[in-house]
């Protein structure tokens, strides 16, 4: 009975006799494995990163986004009911709906979201400015997602979010059609004005610069900061009221929620004032009041134009410890669509997984194709070894080797090629995946505009799945065993008498 160590020795000796062929087969196996391992390492990594960082900031964990319900008949394909009238009409969110939800246990607030625009007092006669110039994430929210607290603190001067109120005395000049600041005046417009600013303007001064190579923030010199301050003030003087610009606001408004897309959720009272304020501004700006529609016309699919006081979306804030999913389900039962962080996460993860599966399938199919060809090469190499070793096989049989031992010897040779190729391919695949990950991360870091975005970019998208690697080695061993089965059987059945015969 041949010892295990001797099996390995005899196998490697045989393989060494056909170096070129064996190396070719091993490289082929390795190529297939490289494709599979690289795809797996990166796709898993991308998924991990996406799941851990990107999606989780889309919606707060205690917030339910509510949308006007969808009519199930809307989703029917035309052939199943092209002229069918909608049985259920689409209803929009209204104050009555919000009132009902507010009364439920576990609900802290239920409001419609308000788009808040930073404006100056002098800017009432103009169209509202877009807020895209203010792109920031509040520090507490950032801290919720980012573990590196020191980095956030270092950079926090650039990202505050301020929602505030102050009393401002204004006077509306009928002749000029313009609101003006009137600090000493007796008449105050609306009695109280809500002032909402996104950010302390000076806070937008960059005090730190991100070093992409060292992956750290470096403080700017005092001169550079002063220069930025002057430039900013100069620019703002052109656009904003200097009183507002230079005033430090007292924080009074409570942030109910924050959503990407420049939407800030604020309490209803504030929102109403804010909306009034914005409406007034818009009216003054356009001198063309919005038309009111009293007609209620449902379309074939059950949709109608929302009336005044009806909204397509809303937000529900859930109390700490309340069952958010149960509340979401209740809102759904009212006929509205809901999105929670868990649902959004699940939906997006599902969608992402589905895309990943397709990419993975393509990569694996490609890798499998190469591996299939490689198996053909393993088979061919082992077959050639058997043909070339007939005399040796005969000799081994004459010296006491059993058929089974001869079979195992050649199966071992095939398996060795498969496993060696897999291990080589795995190492090279990891190397390639690491290089790609490094390149992608570097590219992403170079492409960002806001320093805080760098915090969301991980150091690597490379991941190593040990179970997958073990499965791959096992699979390669099995497939190469199958590839070697036929030649190994042929070797076992070599007639020693004929093999040792020399004419």
């Amino acid at each position: 009975m041949i010892r295990r160590r001797d099996y390995l020795l005899l196998t490697t000796q045989k393989l060494a006799l056909r170096k070129k062929r064996a190396v070719f087969a091993i490289i082929s196996v390795a190529l297939g494995v490289i494709v599979v391992v690289t795809a797996n390492s990166l796709l898993e990594g991308v998924r991990d990163v996406a799941v851990k960082t990107i999606w989780t900031e889309e919606i707060d964990p205690d917030l339910i986004r509510v949308y006007a319900g969808e009519n199930p008949y809307e989703l029917l394909p035309p052939e199943e009911g092209p002229k069918q009238k909608a049985k259920k009409r689409i209803e929009y969110l209204s104050e009555a709906v919000f009132d009902e939800i507010r009364g439920w246990p576990g609900v802290e607030a239920a409001d419609r979201p308000v788009v808040v625009q930073p404006v100056s007092v002098n800017g009432f006669d103009k169209r509202p400015r877009g807020v895209s110039e203010f792109q920031g994430v509040p520090e507490p929210m950032l801290l919720r997602y980012i573990a590196d607290r020191a980095l956030v603190t270092a950079n926090s001067n650039a990202i505050p979010l301020v929602v505030g109120e102050r009393n401002v005395r204004l006077r509306f000049d009928e002749e000029r059609g313009k609101l003006e600041s009137d600090p000493g005046g007796e008449k105050a417009w609306l009695g109280r004005e809500v002032m909402i600013l996104l950010g302390d303007n000076y806070a937008r001064i960059t005090r730190f610069q991100y070093d992409y190579n060292k992956r750290e923030f470096k403080p700017l010199s005092e001169d550079e900061v002063v220069s930025q301050h002057d430039t900013m003030e100069r620019n703002f003087r052109v656009q904003y009221d200097t009183v507002v610009f230079n005033t430090t606001l007292t924080l009074k408004g409570r942030i109910v929620g924050f959503c990407p897309g420049n939407k800030v959720l604020i309490p209803l009272e504030t929102a109403e004032l804010c909306e009034k304020w914005i409406n007034q501004r818009n009216r003054l700006a356009s001198r063309n009041p919005a038309r009111e529609t009293s007609e209620v016309i449902y379309g074939e699919r059950g949709r109608r134009t929302p009336k005044t006081g009806e909204y397509t979306e809303g937000a529900v804030l859930v109390k700490k410890g309340a069952n958010i999913e149960a509340i979401a389900k209740r809102i759904e039962e009212m006929g509205f669509s809901v999105v929670t962080r868990a649902r959004m996460f699940e939906d997006q993860a599902r969608a992402f997984d589905s895309s990943m599966r397709i990419v993975k399938k393509v990569a694996f199919a490609f890798g499998g194709l190469i591996l299939g060809l490689a198996c053909g090469l393993v088979w061919s190499t082992t077959s050639k070894t058997v043909s070339d070793s007939r005399t040796d096989i005969g000799l081994f049989r004459a010296l006491g080797a059993t058929k089974r031992e001869i079979r195992r010897l050649f199966l071992g040779e095939a398996m060795l090629q498969g496993v060696l190729g897999t291990v080589v391919g795995m190492v090279l695949g990891w190397g390639l995946a690491l290089a790609i990950s490094h390149w992608v991360i570097g590219f992403a870091r170079r492409s960002i505009y806001e320093p805080e975005e760098a915090l969301l970019i991980p150091n690597s998208i490379f991941s190593m799945n040990l179970r997958f690697c073990l499965l791959l080695i096992g699979g390669a061993a099995l497939v190469s065993l199958l590839a070697g089965l036929l030649p190994a059987n042929r070797a076992a059945n070599v007639d020693p008498v004929k093999a040792l015969k020399r004419e």
């Binding site: 001797d6 004459a398 010296l399 006491g400 059993t402 031992e405």
Partner: protein, 220 residues
């Protein structure tokens, strides 16, 4: 030691039936040195292959060292060959990728002996045959006589009871052949190993205690 009873071996060559051995009976004593002689195609090598269990007779029984070879399966017959039989071939059959030591130790690999013991035994045996300076040489670096001595060492390494030699001097010059025959005779005498040798060479046959002549598959 070796009993062949009513042995017949038949095989097909294309569409023709060839009778290699016909109703052959042979008894070989333990410790004897016997030569089998006969013209080409007379069945000498077939006889040896039968005794080694490499060939199964069409009829009759082959009993070697108390084992009826016809009744043994592949595992047992391989083990029997490994333990009981040593082969010496005309063309040496030494794989060129092994050194003299590795070649001599080869049967021990199939016996499951560890490498250290294998090498030690092979070195001792090769040194005994005067090959102490050729231990790490590959077969193509050895002379014909040296290669055949390595082959004899390989045949002896497992202390077999029988050595089957198929034309051991067939590929050697007269003098070297003589030395090889002396070595086989010495092994037979000193170790008590039964030697059964196929040869065309009358001089080589002269070393044997008995000459078995075979013609057209029958003992003459």
């Amino acid at each position: 030691m070796i009993h062949l009873e009513n042995i017949s071996v038949e095989y097909r060559l294309k569409s023709e039936r060839v009778q290699a051995l016909r109703n052959l009976n042979l008894h070989v004593r333990e410790g004897s040195f016997e030569a089998i002689m006969g013209p080409s195609g007379s069945g000498k090598t077939t006889l040896i292959q039968l005794i080694a269990g490499l060939l199964t007779p069409t009829a009759g029984e082959v009993i070697v060292s108390g084992e009826n070879l016809s009744r043994l399966g592949d595992e047992k017959i391989s083990s029997f060959r490994n333990r009981t039989i040593g082969f010496v071939f005309q063309f040496f059959n030494l794989p060129n990728y092994y050194t003299a030591v590795d070649n001599a130790a080869l049967p021990l690999v199939f016996a499951g002996v560890d490498e250290r013991t294998r090498r030690l035994r092979a070195r001792t045996l090769l040194a005994e045959f005067g090959l102490q300076d050729r231990l790490d040489h590959k077969p193509d670096q050895l002379s014909g006589g040296e290669a055949q001595r390595v082959a004899i060492a390989r045949a002896l390494i497992n202390n077999p009871k029988i050595i089957l030699a198929d034309e051991p001097t067939g590929n050697l010059d007269r003098d070297t052949g003589g030395h090889v025959m002396e070595l086989l005779q010495k092994i037979n005498r000193e170790r008590g190993v039964t030697v059964l040798m196929v040869t065309h060479d009358e001089k080589a046959a002269g070393f044997a205690q008995r000459i078995i002549r075979i013609e057209k598959g029958e003992l003459v």
